[in-house]
């Protein structure tokens, strides 16, 4: 399957390689970002929508 995006790229493969490297570097960055978040932070953040002190839920 991979072949079909490489074939026909003739000489232009630098674009593909360049873009993949850019993505991997970016992805690694985001991954580090996420891994370094602490449990408390996550709890605070993920509860923001539920903390707006209204009569909640619609049942």
């Amino acid at each position: 399957m991979f072949k079909q995006f490489i074939s026909g790229v003739e000489g232009m493969d630098q674009y593909l390689i360049f873009s993949m490297i850019v993505f991997l570097v970016f992805f690694a960055g985001v991954l580090i970002y996420v891994v370094r978040m602490t449990k408390e932070e996550i709890d605070i953040l993920s509860n923001i929508p539920l903390n707006d002190k209204e009569t909640d839920s619609h049942e």
Partner: protein, 717 residues
């Protein structure tokens, strides 16, 4: 502790956008239904220019995307942003300007599109003055949103807001880049780019309009409303961050998957495919995150229609985002592209993801802002089943039809000839599926009416809490910033967020576009390709005005099944003078790129009769009749400025050619009129066809199509 500030949330603006959502949703879907019926019953074109398929198809797409989904986005954002920021919207005046400005733009679209004022770029059909209005209103929206974020009383930016910010930035960039047009008059312009470059820009836009208008804002909304409705936090916040950044990074690259096997340079097509496959990961990350948020709440899903809507919406998102990458594989694309398969694909997204999410939000919001209870959960459940059934009855026939017609186009007999050389046979075979699709659409629309009634009753039973009282402590700026990690800073700094999103989305766009624009060898020139004559140029503009591009492609792919049927496959160099490109994306009718060549040649009289009443020349044709083309006088008042504009854009008309353009136009028109006379064509009242009616120009254009390249070989490789 600090003191607590009292303020209020603006619910009225939420209500206004909500009403607009329901009304435009009904309008947009009704127009879609009309267009769907026209595809098996041409009489439903209603016999006038304004309601023919070519003109109302863009009206349907614009109404549904920008009016229905657009208003739903604003409704959802205006409610959630205020709560997530613990602040009222920055300015009530900006909110009002945004609301009324947006509705005015929609009305302008609803007037200009049926009049045939279109730029022809899909999902960007509106002409330049409206483009400018969109820019202004978008700025107002962004200003209002940023003002609110900057004045927030909540330290952190919840992930939903990230999605809103990315939506704002990216839509702004997309809209600006795809709107480079040279105005000729108030409602006519030519795109700055031509041919392959225009195609690349358009599909970079088109694809990312889906990504950043139909997807990212709705993901942001999902991350707010789903936890709210389920009353539990999102399953994994970490996953939502990963989801956000990878999604916006990858999406922007995938546009070229709309141009596979076209004359776009291969490396750009390959990039599009590669990144499309990668898109599965973040998309499914988002879907799983949404569905797992409901873990432990499945018992409630059984009773609560709102949660049901969410579940099916998010599932539809997952289906559509798995199918999209599969459709980007070249071998799948070869079958599916130009067929009803793609129509099925987009409707799983539109009806399933956007539609059901919108309904869920409406059902959840209406009782909230009217301080009451939903009038009938039973009716909401009925709506849920109608919607789900409607989607199935829509999508399944379309998949079937797409597959069947795609196979028939490619079917070779044992003798090595096409089994269905007459295109119409493939059309006739799918008409039953088109009938079923319109039934599916009707079921879905019925559900919307049920919802409208239910919401109306709900609203009547309560009273709008226009200003909902709230209180929160203000944000203090003097906290210890010293030992913070960089990622915490991102979470707090909306402007940084905006800049980062901008950079992320610019990378993909730049890598794809800059080489295509700068490297000349990407578009090999063909010496035989010459600019259109003035009459052909006017004919081409009629082709754009009538929306022929909605049913006819103009690009032959390099397959034997296509070269057998249509002739030589299309080369990039053939389109260098095409402002805009007209490759199209759907073959409801046959490809017309080679219509004028010997292989497909038809006499002028054939085209004349065919345009007046297609079914007379091709039995069973579902192409709309265009009788008005034979009575409308061709408007040549702008021909001179069109030639000049084309020259400005780089089309090599000789110096001062515009002085001669009108007499050339007349000569060519007289020749065609003489041909028609020779071939025995007469008007209804038996008079001769005048050389200055519109149909003459359109025939000139059709007869020109593809003829350049049949004269000589490609020069430069």
């Amino acid at each position: 502790m600090t003191h607590i500030e009292k303020f209020s949330y603006d619910n009225k603006i939420v209500r206004d956008f909500g009403i607009a959502t329901v009304i435009w949703g009904i309008v947009g879907m009704l127009i879609g239904l009309l267009a769907a019926i026209q595809l098996y019953e041409p009489a439903a074109n209603l016999g006038n220019p304004y309601t023919t398929f070519g003109r109302i198809r863009p009206l349907h797409t614009n109404a549904v995307i920008f009016a229905f989904v657009g208003n739903a986005i604003f409704m959802g954002i205006y409610y959630s942003l205020q709560r997530l920021c613990k602040a009222r919207m920055f300015s009530d005046l900006l909110s009002k300007l945004h609301f009324w400005g947006w509705q005015l733009i929609i009305v302008a679209a609803a007037i200009t599109l049926p009049l045939g004022m279109t730029s022809s770029h899909e999902y960007a059909e509106l002409e330049w003055p409206i483009d400018i209005a969109i820019t202004l209103i978008w700025v107002i929206f962004g200003w209002n949103m940023f003002g609110t974020i900057l004045r927030r009383r909540e330290k952190h930016l919840y992930v939903a807001i990230w999605f809103y910010i990315a939506t704002f930035v990216t839509v702004a960039v997309l809209h600006l880049v795809n709107s480079f047009q040279l105005p000729i008059s108030l409602f006519k312009s030519y795109y700055w780019y031509s041919g392959v470059q225009d195609a690349l820009v358009q599909w970079w836009y088109g694809h990312n309009a889906v990504a950043f208008f139909l997807t990212t804002p709705f993901l942001g909304l999902m991350y707010y409303y789903l936890p709210k409705a389920a009353n539990r936090p999102v399953y994994s916040y970490k996953l939502s961050i990963l989801h956000f950044w990878t999604l916006i990074f990858i999406y922007i690259w995938a546009g070229p998957h709309h141009l596979l096997y076209s004359s776009l340079p291969n490396w750009a097509q390959s990039l599009g495919t590669a990144f499309s496959i990668m898109l599965i990961a973040p998309s499914w990350g988002g879907m799983i995150n949404g569905l797992l948020t409901l873990r432990g709440a499945w018992d409630r899903v059984r009773e609560d229609a709102i949660l049901k809507f969410f579940v099916v919406a998010v599932t539809a998102y997952g289906m559509a985002t798995l199918e999209g990458p599969l459709l980007s594989l070249k071998n799948v694309n070869a079958i599916a592209h130009f067929t009803d398969w793609i129509v099925a694909h987009v409707h799983v997204g539109a009806l399933g993801w956007n539609g059901l999410m919108t309904f869920a939000m409406l059902y959840w919001l209406a009782p909230k802002i009217y301080n009451t209870k939903l009038y009938s959960m039973k009716l909401a459940n009925t709506h849920f089943w109608l919607a789900t059934l409607g989607i199935a009855f829509y999508a399944i026939p379309m998949y079937w039809s797409g597959w069947q017609q795609g196979q028939m186009w490619k079917d070779f007999g044992p003798d090595g000839y096409l089994v269905y050389p007459e295109f119409i046979k493939t059309t006739m075979s799918i008409l039953p599926m088109h009938v079923m699709r319109s039934i599916g659409g009707t079921i879905y629309l019925t559900g919307v009416f049920v919802m409208a009634y239910n919401l109306y009753k709900t609203v009547k039973s309560g009273r709008l809490v226009a200003n909902e009282a709230a209180e929160a402590a203000p944000l203090l700026n003097n906290e210890n910033h010293g030992k913070e990690y960089w990622h915490r800073i991102i979470e707090r700094k909306p402007t940084l967020m905006l800049v980062l999103s901008l950079i992320v989305i610019m990378i993909g766009g730049a890598v794809e576009m800059v080489p295509t624009f700068l490297i000349k060898s990407n578009v090999p020139t063909i010496a035989a390709v010459k600019p259109y004559t003035p009459l052909e140029l006017e004919g081409r503009d009629l082709y754009i005005k009538e929306g022929c591009v909605g049913c006819h492609s103009q690009t032959v792919r390099p397959f034997r099944s296509e070269t057998e049927r249509y002739g030589e496959y299309s080369k990039a160099g053939e389109f260098v003078y095409d402002h805009p490109f007209l490759w199209g994306s759907k073959r409801t009718g046959p490809d017309l790129a080679r219509e004028g060549t010997a292989k497909l040649f038809k006499q002028d009289s054939w085209h004349y009769y065919h345009l007046v009443k297609p079914s007379e020349m091709t039995q069973g044709s579902i192409m709309p009749p265009y009788p008005w083309l034979t009575t409308n006088t061709l408007n040549t008042s702008q021909t001179v400025s069109k030639i000049k504009a084309m020259r400005t854009l780089g089309v090599p008309y000789p110096k001062d050619y515009e002085k001669q353009a009108l007499s050339d136009l007349k000569k060519q028109a007289e020749k065609i009129a003489a041909n028609l006379k020779k071939e025995g064509v007469r008007n209804k009242d038996k008079s001769e066809v005048s050389p200055d009616v519109e149909v003459i120009a359109l025939i000139a254009y059709l007869q020109r199509l593809g003829t350049d390249i049949s004269k000589s070989e490609t020069t430069n490789p």
